[in-house]
Symmetry: C2
């Protein structure tokens, strides 16, 4: 890999070769998974390149294409599955410097891929009281390009579904990996080509996202005697069409008391909870509903005084992947899964699965709209013993009709639908004919004969060897 | 009925006794129903009283209570079931003069009951780019108080459900019908006491409603070969969580071509359609979805030139009860029903029912969120022959699991759930102990022994006799 030749070719563009920094920029939150931690801990790029604008991106891609150097794009590295990890080394294309918020209009924002979600919302709130529809729990640090390329939904999905749904991304500007890179504008049906493709088939240089009305969302925590009470409450609240919520997250004991340290003073040991973000104008209705449903409000930010809320993280940072993060900080043996509980049996399935795995699994649900219905994902915390037992737990879910989006795999297919995405594969043939973008992440490209029903994880042959 | 004594008591408050004007102010759109037309055509109040503020409302109610004079509140008279018709004469309390928009804040508006919906939206749009969540197709003329007291939902229900859902009304200020009227503020669970009670148990003097982001909604009409194609398309569109719509209304041939005269140039004879209002930021996604679904866009306001759109009514005025109105203008023998097609079988039920009644019924659906699910109401147009045949058609619906909200009845119960609403009845006992507010509309008050399962319409004994 002729990194020296590359440096000459891209002279004037910011680079970084300090091995410690390069290694740090080659990592994400893959270590949430003990499986990925073992497989990927040694991975590092050869060089980090930080373009300032699309013209520099084009120069880098052109040079790397000619020199046959792999390029792995990276936003701020908040992914959990090694999305931005350079499995065969080469260049980390650090897009964090391209962070401008370019244009705000009713219902729309245009920005560069490195813009951080919270930064975008600050700009759109100040401009016209608007905010993004969807964000991960890493809202304060995640970039919009990384979210579009490596995320799927999160806070706001109870109202808007996921990023894969038509309308939740408006336009992407994408540069191809060719000797003469092309710049494409994708809208409508074409967006799927590069959405959630981990940057394997194009580099996103501009993102247009829909906006919705911003409110001073109120954090509330509702306490329950049991996890299933919290789950049923969350399900019923999610189905209240007139109560505007942004987050509904039931979490089983002992997680709330044991892992949410700053909130411990509001909680009882052994208490399960439902985290809620509710719009201020829906508070009265929310409280009426909660009373009707027999929930006990243990924390309500609208009622809490400044001393009570001082130093408290927002409930967003107790939810989605942050739930697991807080558990990991207390107990490093915790890992997690990602489950879909299909509508309309979500509540029965949650009860059944959690009864089957009572001790190793701590329940955590996130209510969402999914294909037009209200249902829930699970992000259960798992007390990890062995990779085999983890596989067994996954099998128990799947045998009971609950698909797993496996967060212990670094490929698109194994973490997703376990089948070739023909649209994304075809676009890779067109936009990255040499297969240099984020190698090893798209099985369909690396090994067209791979059997998705085999129980064995895909092993990327050109995975960097541990030294 | 001592109207002269009343006039003395309320001296200084605006009144109207001209019989032609009083009769006009005693009517609504009850004549949509041939049944109600026959029953109620002669109804008239003795006097119209038009208070300017809550203090005048209190004076009127106090005087009427002492004198035993019935009081029927009226907004702008856009109801369809005689909601504001004074069955026993007395006073029409015309609240149209109390029309101030008092306060606008993020997510909220406070107004007087006579404020017209379009007027409220003009104020909230100008103030902060906000609009009401829900409105009837009579948006340009209906008052907010009348909508809350006599309506149920409409445009926007595909996103927010109905007025009966917690959170879709924030606060109501209500004056009781007592010698010393009390002023009550209702929020949360208590709102149900007077919501959709036709003013039978209190007079609304202030309304606080939730607001949502206003957009320059785009009117689109999608054409289909058959009504069921339009229905399936509407159902699938309604389930697109990322595409922001405000109206999804499939309407069967021959209605679009025959009844939507101004839009005829865009339509083919025999074409069924789906009317859609879509947010501008969702247009690309909407078009991609429509192409995927095989719909043919026959009118798209975002693409149409000024000559094409000149004089066209908005699609809102082709939808909900306006569909029937346009049919009636062309064919006075048309009437209608109101049906719920329960989730998840809505599409099969629509197909089944329409196949059973092929010639007399012209399909018209409105997609809504209902108790957390996406389903549709039907407002089928009916070629009216006899009251008996209409009853038979109603029976066919009910026998097949499709509840009818009968628009050919003037009572709350027969138009609604066909059972006593204990909360509203209890509140009437408290707030209108003499039973003077809008007499004859609440069966539970007039005849506690009434059998809702009898096939006979409730006949109010004190219904004014036709002269």
């Amino acid at each position: 890999m002729d990194i020296e030749a590359l440096k000459t070719e891209i002279d004037g563009i910011r680079i970084e070769e300090n091995p410690a920094v390069v290694k740090q920029k080659s990592r994400d939150f893959f270590w949430y998974s003990p499986v990925l931690k073992e497989q990927l801990d040694h991975i590092t790029a050869d060089i980090v390149v930080s373009p300032n604008d699309e013209a520099e991106v084009i120069r880098v891609l052109s040079a790397c294409c000619r020199l046959g150097i792999p390029v792995t794009p990276r936003g701020t590295g908040t992914g959990n599955y090694g999305q931005a990890m350079p499995l065969s080394g080469g260049v980390i294309l650090n897009l964090a410097e391209m962070s401008a918020v370019r244009e705000i209009a009713p219902g729309r924002v245009v920005c560069e891929p490195g813009a951080v979600l919270a930064q975008i919302d600050r700009a759109t709130r100040a401009h016209s009281g608007q905010e993004l529809r969807l964000s991960p729990s890493t809202y304060q640090t995640a970039s919009i390009g990384g979210f579009v390329a490596g995320g799927s939904g999160g806070i706001g999905s109870i109202r808007w579904g996921g990023l894969r749904d038509l309308g939740n991304i408006l336009r992407l500007r994408v540069v191809t990996m060719e000797e003469e890179p092309r710049v494409l504008e994708l809208t409508g049906e074409e967006l799927h080509k590069v959405t959630h493709a981990y940057g394997t088939n194009g580099i996103i240089t501009e993102v247009e996202m829909p906006l919705t009305a911003a409110y001073e969302w109120v954090d509330v925590i509702v306490g329950f005697e049991s996890f299933m009470d919290a789950a049923r409450y969350g399900n019923a609240l999610a189905r209240q069409d007139g109560i505007l919520t942004k987050l509904i997250s039931p979490i089983a004991a002992p997680a709330p008391f044991d892992y949410f340290k700053r909130h411990q003073k509001f909680l009882r040991e052994g208490q399960s909870v439902c985290l809620v973000m509710v719009a201020p104008q829906s508070l009265d209705a929310f409280r009426a509903f909660t009373e009707r449903a027999g929930g006990e409000v243990v924390f309500d930010a609208a009622d809490a005084g400044p001393e009570e809320t001082k130093g408290l993280p927002p409930v967003t940072e107790l939810s989605w992947n942050h739930t697991t993060l807080r558990a990991l900080r207390v107990d490093s043996a915790i890992t997690y899964l990602q489950v879909l509980y299909p509508f309309p049996n979500q509540i029965d399935l949650v009860a059944k699965i959690h009864a089957m795995i009572p001790d190793e699994m701590i329940g955590h649900l996130e209510f969402v709209r999914f294909d037009g219905d209200i249902t829930c994902f699970g992000l259960p915390m798992i007390r990890y013993s062995t990779a085999e037992r983890l596989e067994e737990i996954i099998r128990l879910h799947e045998e009971n009709g609950c698909p797993i989006f496996n967060p212990h795999r670094y490929t698109l297919e194994e973490g997703g639908m376990k089948q070739t995405d023909e649209v994304q594969l075809a676009f890779k043939r067109e936009a990255d004919p040499k297969g240099l973008l984020n190698p090893g992440k798209m099985i369909a490209w690396e090994n067209p004969d791979y059997d998705y029903r085999s129980d064995k994880p895909f092993l990327f042959p050109r995975l960097q060897r541990a030294s």
